[in-house]
């Protein structure tokens, strides 16, 4: 249908532009000529100025037209209901105004031209576009314009009656019908058919009503004024509609009051007078008011007599409408359901996603019932297929739950809404679903929970990635010693005639590499134990200075061999601290052997310090080797910190020693860090709290 309407719109535009060009450039010498001629005519001069009396009319007309733009059923049908993707709106945003500009560009020239050509003749202004070419014997152009107009009228009737009948069936007839038990029993067999019938009936009903309006009401109104009457009516939706989107505290009661008041005033001030004109009521009501009450005169309500009927009706209906909406909302209390919906509507961009995921709904339904319900409308085959697809998307089709979760119910409602509209879908779903009302707190808790789950999920994904990286690094690190071991084993195997020195060296390397490999495995397992919390500390009060001296004695020999000078400056007395002596010894040995490893190769110097700072004991181990670049100082405590940059390798070691040190120190609630700069020796610090 949309394609048909689009074609009609373009055809109409071309017809109108042709007529416009014909009038402006064939009958006259362009726009300038028309306006010049018109401005010389006294009766038309008035049209060129905005006189003060009706200037406010323009305001009201623009207001209701702008609102009609969105709320008129056929506009809403095209912009919202038939809209498949919201991004289409971006295009419509410039294309539609452009279309309006084009189709309106010749309105003034044709209108003024018509007045000039048919001076003094009784020709209806609505028909100028047709009668001008006709009067010039332009048969073809007349035909095109006629067809354009005919197409326009047809499409307007089609879209309008379709939109109205959809509104009528989806929101009024079906919900009403479903409430009647006997109907429900009947339709449950053949729901789809009855919906189609209801829709057909409502189309006929709408057409009949409009025909009735055409015949009962005086045909003295121009198309424009009939249109304006309905524009004002449709504009009554605006306050509750816009309020519903932006105002969280609006209530259903307020919206009802708004619509009742607005339509009431509209009917009284605009429709009632036309009924009077039609002779259904006494004319005196217009002039003296009902029961002689002058302030109730339909077109001069409360004595307001300076406005035209349309402006007058707009002013009063809007004032009443908005006032009723605000007061009605303020003085009534939202039910929890209303509040939930208001939240979801107003904060649609914050919650829509989580809502999709959790669906704030508590209730029970059998999946089979839902499937049958959809089947009534779309056919059982299609319904089965849709549910199968949804099951696939949900759980890979593994299991089809007999009891439907909220997601299933939501899905059913969505599918049904596509066929019968949201209001009807909701009611129908509720016939198969036992629903329990959810409190506001529960909904909010659900939303929060889903957001938290999302966050936890992200963290887990990150951890998973870290674990993967760790495993890939560990396996890579293990391959290095294996490579050496295999290479030398093969060399020894393939060359029985090796000289004794080579043989000795290669075997020695194999042994060393096996040790390295074993150390790596030990450390990985140790770190794993720490991280999984399987390894705990055995705390006892101990003297850190004594531990440090013990560690120094262990390394003394190595230092001597490498000609490294070691200085100890230990604060005495140092408070005893609670610690796991084995673990802290491990940290000290690791830091010390690192210091030996990285010390200056010719004039090595290592300094050990202990001192108390406030309620902590601090240990520092410095060496005069290479400076650690500042960007790496934070990273070296990470497991295999080179995972950040796969091509950079640490000089030696497993890459796990410092990571283990950090775990141990942190388990003691201490801190560990390194300071290194060209001016100062590289120093590793760690602290332990005196009071655990």
């Amino acid at each position: 249908m949309v394609a048909g309407i689009a074609f009609e719109s373009i055809f109409k535009l071309i017809a109108f532009l042709l007529a416009g060009v014909f009038v402006s450039f064939y009958m006259f010498d362009g726009f300038g000529d028309i306006f010049r001629q018109a401005s010389q005519r006294l009766d038309l001069q008035a049209l060129f100025t905005l006189n003060t009396e009706n200037s406010s009319d323009w305001f009201y007309m623009l207001l209701v037209s702008a609102l009609a733009f969105v709320f008129l059923p056929r506009q809403f049908q095209m912009a919202v209901v038939e809209n498949k993707e919201s991004r289409h709106l971006d295009k419509a945003l410039w294309l539609f105004p452009l279309y309006l500009l084009l189709i309106n560009i010749f309105v003034l020239p044709i209108a003024l031209g018509g007045r000039l050509i048919f001076e003094g003749q009784a020709v209806h202004a609505d028909h100028y576009v047709l009668t001008i070419p006709m009067s010039q014997d332009q048969t073809l152009l007349t035909l095109v314009v006629y067809l354009g107009g005919f197409a326009a009228a047809t499409s307007m009737i089609i879209v309008a009656s379709l939109a109205l009948s959809l509104m009528l069936t989806n929101n009024l007839l079906i919900p009403l019908a479903v409430r009647i038990p006997s109907f429900r029993q009947y339709y449950s067999q053949d729901l789809g058919y009855s919906v189609i019938m209801l829709r057909r009936i409502s189309i006929v009903l709408v057409l009949l009503l409009s025909y009735l309006y055409l015949h009962t009401l005086p045909a003295r109104f121009a198309l424009v004024s009939i249109g304006l009457v309905s524009f004002v009516a449709v504009a009554q939706f605006a306050p509750s509609f816009i309020g519903g989107i932006y105002w969280k505290n609006a209530t259903k009661f307020g919206a009802k009051m708004s619509l009742l008041t607005g339509f009431g005033i509209w009917a009284y001030t605009l429709i009632f007078p036309t009924l009077i004109e039609a002779g259904l009521f006494s004319k005196t009501i217009l002039t003296e008011g009902p029961w002689g009450l002058a302030w109730l005169r339909p077109q001069q309500l409360l004595g307001l007599d300076t406005l035209s009927p349309i402006a007058h009706a707009t002013f009063w209906s809007f004032s009443g409408n908005i006032l009723a909406y605000v007061l009605g909302s303020v003085f009534s209390v939202q039910s929890s359901k209303e509040h939930n919906q208001a939240l979801l509507f107003v904060e649609v961009f914050e919650h829509s996603k989580s809502y999709e995921e959790v669906v704030a709904w508590k209730g029970k339904a059998r999946r089979e019932d839902l499937e049958n319900l959809v089947g009534n409308f779309l056919g059982q085959v299609r319904s089965k297929e849709l549910f199968r697809q949804f099951a696939m998307a949900q759980n890979g089709g593994l299991k089809n739950p007999a009891i439907a979760s909220a997601k299933w119910v939501n899905f059913t409602e969505k599918v049904l809404a596509g066929a019968v509209g949201a209001a009807s879908a909701r009611i129908m779903v509720s016939t198969v679903v036992k629903e329990e009302e959810m409190s506001k707190e529960e909904v909010i808790a659900l939303l929060k929970e889903s957001q938290e789950i999302k966050k936890v999920n992200q963290e887990l994904t990150k951890l998973d990635k870290q674990k993967d990286d760790f495993i890939s690094t560990v396996t890579h690190e293990m391959r290095t010693p294996i490579t050496s071991i295999r290479a030398f084993a093969e060399i020894l195997h393939d060359h029985p005639d090796l000289d004794a020195d080579d043989k000795e060296q290669f075997l020695h390397t194999i042994i060393k590499e096996t040790e390295r490999m074993n150390r790596l495995i030990d450390q990985v397992l140790e770190l794993e134990r720490f991280e999984s919390g399987k390894s705990s500390l055995h705390l006892q009060e101990a003297d850190l200075n004594a531990l440090l001296q013990e560690a120094y004695h262990t390394m003394k020999q190595v230092c001597k061999e490498k000609n490294i000078q070691v200085t100890l400056s230990l604060q005495e007395p140092l408070p005893w601290v609670f610690l796991d002596t084995d673990r802290i010894m491990q940290v000290l040995l690791n830091l010390l052997s690192n210091a030996v490893k990285f010390c200056d190769t010719t004039q090595g110097h290592i300094a050990l310090h202990t001192y108390r700072i406030l309620d902590e004991v601090q240990v520092s181990i410095s060496n005069n080797g290479q400076t650690i670049p500042s960007e790496m100082q934070g990273l070296i405590f990470d497991k295999f910190y080179q995972t950040e940059d796969q091509t950079v390798k640490k000089p030696k070691g497993s890459g796990l020693g410092l990571a283990i040190c950090r775990r141990i120190v942190e388990l003691h609630r201490g801190r560990i860090w390194v300071e290194s700069s060209p001016e100062r020796p590289t120093t590793f610090y760690f602290t332990l709290p005196i009071h655990l």
Binding site: T480, I482, T483, S484, I485, V648
Partner: protein, 125 residues
Amino acid sequence: MKQVVNVLVVDDEPNILMSLDFLMRKAGYQVFVARNGKEALEIVERQIPDVVILDIMMPEVDGYEVCQYIRRQEASKHSKVIFLSAKTKEADIQKGYEVGANLFLAKPFSTKNLLIKVKELLAEG
């Protein structure tokens, strides 16, 4: 008797370097060893290698960069490059061939296989 064959072995792991050096010397090649990418580049400047056995993960200049450099130089453009790496993910291997390697071998490697492959590449000319 054919002329001397120059083999450049590059690895930052001393033990692996030692084994490669031994293997290549035993096979009768003239061996140059580089402990990292930088040293490798310096050697390529002075001496055009017939075969390069190249590790990938090395500090500062990695194996990929070394290979790219070798391919860019007019003199070493036709040298045979074998990557010998523990990085054996599909993407690593693909990148190896993209930067111009003749062969990609995984660590740990078979010494026999390595020697056969070197011989084959040299036979290709």
